[in-house]
Assembly symmetry: C2
């Protein structure tokens, strides 16, 4: 029962501080400024901008929970953030969401032009995979291959890119709750869940723990999007750091448009419970950081 | 000396036939039609269109020359083609070259819309890496990791994407021959050379052979672009299957604009010689297919 008391006193901010510093330092080192013809500048602008780094923190927390290889986890953490960053760059482009504001700054294509934004996104995706396969003996090749597999699945047609395709096709459509859930599980959920599974793949968790972390990641990933939909109607642009109300303006189906605000909020809490139940069933000794991250996802205000 | 006679009688068409059939079959199987919301259709349209498959053939020829793992090589062959295909999709978009014709067909964004083209390209890049890391025991994880490393380097900021950034910045600029060479070594050369090196990485070549294949790939990669520049002014759109004369129309620096047609043709022959000298120095028993592919690159008419 002790384990149930711990989360209340777990200091997520303190836990995150050193890990965020390591991630920022690594991103700044690995996202090279000396790429040709300004490409590096656009890549760095897209990545080094004070995002929440939720995906890297999930990788590191999951790796710590299973006692995994920390060098592998730092690389995987940065790789997930590069995939996330590239998806935002491409998503903001005029042919997609045509957004000019991201995290309070002009979007990459506004700052550098559309062609540079396209290339920077492409190069960030390649760099994400490059980070996972160092040739210096620090990460076993079996781990490298597993990390590449998980990232490719989370980012590609059966993950994030597939979800974005559904999103694109769903504008102005009526979706059922099942269809909306399927879309979000891919579009946002796959990379969040993939981050947790990549952290786990840095170690050798028992099968039950691996399954529990997968289920935790699925619940957290969906909760993230439900809360995103809620914030799109309840928060202002300044708090969000991006354009609020744009889902409604673009006639996109959301949890709020489908379930209403109150039922969406209840659903987010249900998903949080599913995430914590999975952690309780994991058999892992210390899952406090993972629990606190799920709490942050559900109760954030931006 | 026997080796110098062999190329004249080597039947590249015959050698290629079965290998191209395997590549086409594998691409058709791996580039999934059932990706969500039409994404798979756009991905297949971009890939399954009768390209020359030069990169896959280079992978397979290099793998055979070193006696490598054929399963790994088929996966690597398809992965290089997916990277090539995604780069064409993005390159043709209105914010880049704004081209409407590719291999005699409407480009992907003309056929499916810009947003779908952007996503299809992104998903093809992820799929390229996914192909390299099968979880079925057929390819040693050390080979998987090496292939991912080579592909990421060839595709990313220090390879193809970097070269495209230079290309973008060079429109209307006067480049020196060194600058032009540096641009093309990245933009086109990196993935061609990478294809050769990935084929070699499917086996365990002696260090001298690995270096020779790397040098062969570098010469062939640059020759490809020199010939591309020549064909842009000497061939018509119907033969090329894409818009001829567009480099000059877009005021892009090319070998022909810099050296003139005759010196460009001589330079292509010099690079062919460099490629064959490297093969002769490789110590490999049978490099006839690689030699014939270099010959095809230099003497093609489309």
């Amino acid at each position: 029962m002790d384990a149930r008391v711990k989360p209340a006193v777990f200091d997520l901010t303190g836990w995150s501080a050193g890990r965020l510093a390591r991630v920022e330092e690594a991103l700044s080192r690995w996202v090279v400024a000396d790429a040709p013809a300004g490409l590096g500048d656009a890549m760095r602008y897209a990545v080094l901008d004070g995002g929440k780094r939720l995906r890297p923190l999930l990788v590191l927390a999951a790796c710590e929970a299973v006692g995994g290889n920390e060098t592998a986890a730092l690389r995987a953490a940065c790789a997930t953030e590069l995939i996330h960053a590239y998806s935002l760059v491409h998503d903001d482009m005029p042919c997609m969401d045509n957004d000019v504001l991201r995290r309070g700054k002009p979007t990459v294509h506004v700052q550098f032009g559309e062609a540079a934004a396209l290339l920077a996104g492409d190069a960030l995706q390649a760099l994400a995979f490059e980070l996972l396969v160092p040739d210096d003996g620090t990460v076993p090749t079996a781990t490298q291959a597993a990390l590449c597999r998980l990232l490719a699945q989370a980012a590609g047609h059966s993950g994030m890119a597939g979800g974005q395709a559904i999103d694109l096709a769903s504008v102005g459509q009526d979706l059922s709750e099942d269809q909306l859930r399927a879309m979000h599980r891919l579009k946002t959920g796959a990379l969040l869940q993939g981050s947790v599974m990549m952290g786990a793949a840095c170690g050798e968790p028992a099968p039950a723990a691996a399954v529990a972390l997968r289920d935790y990641g699925a619940a957290l990933g969906l909760a993230f999007q439900v809360v995103d939909d809620i914030l799109d109607v309840t928060a202002d642009s300044a708090t969000l750091g991006k354009t609020a109300g744009k889902d409604a303006a673009q006639d996109k189906p959301t949890y709020v448009s489908l379930l209403g605000l109150q039922r969406s909020q209840a659903y987010a809490q249900t998903l949080f419970s599913q995430a914590t139940v999975a952690l309780d069933a994991s058999g892992l000794a210390d899952t406090r950081a993972l629990r606190a991250l799920a709490d942050m996802v559900v109760n954030r205000n931006n």
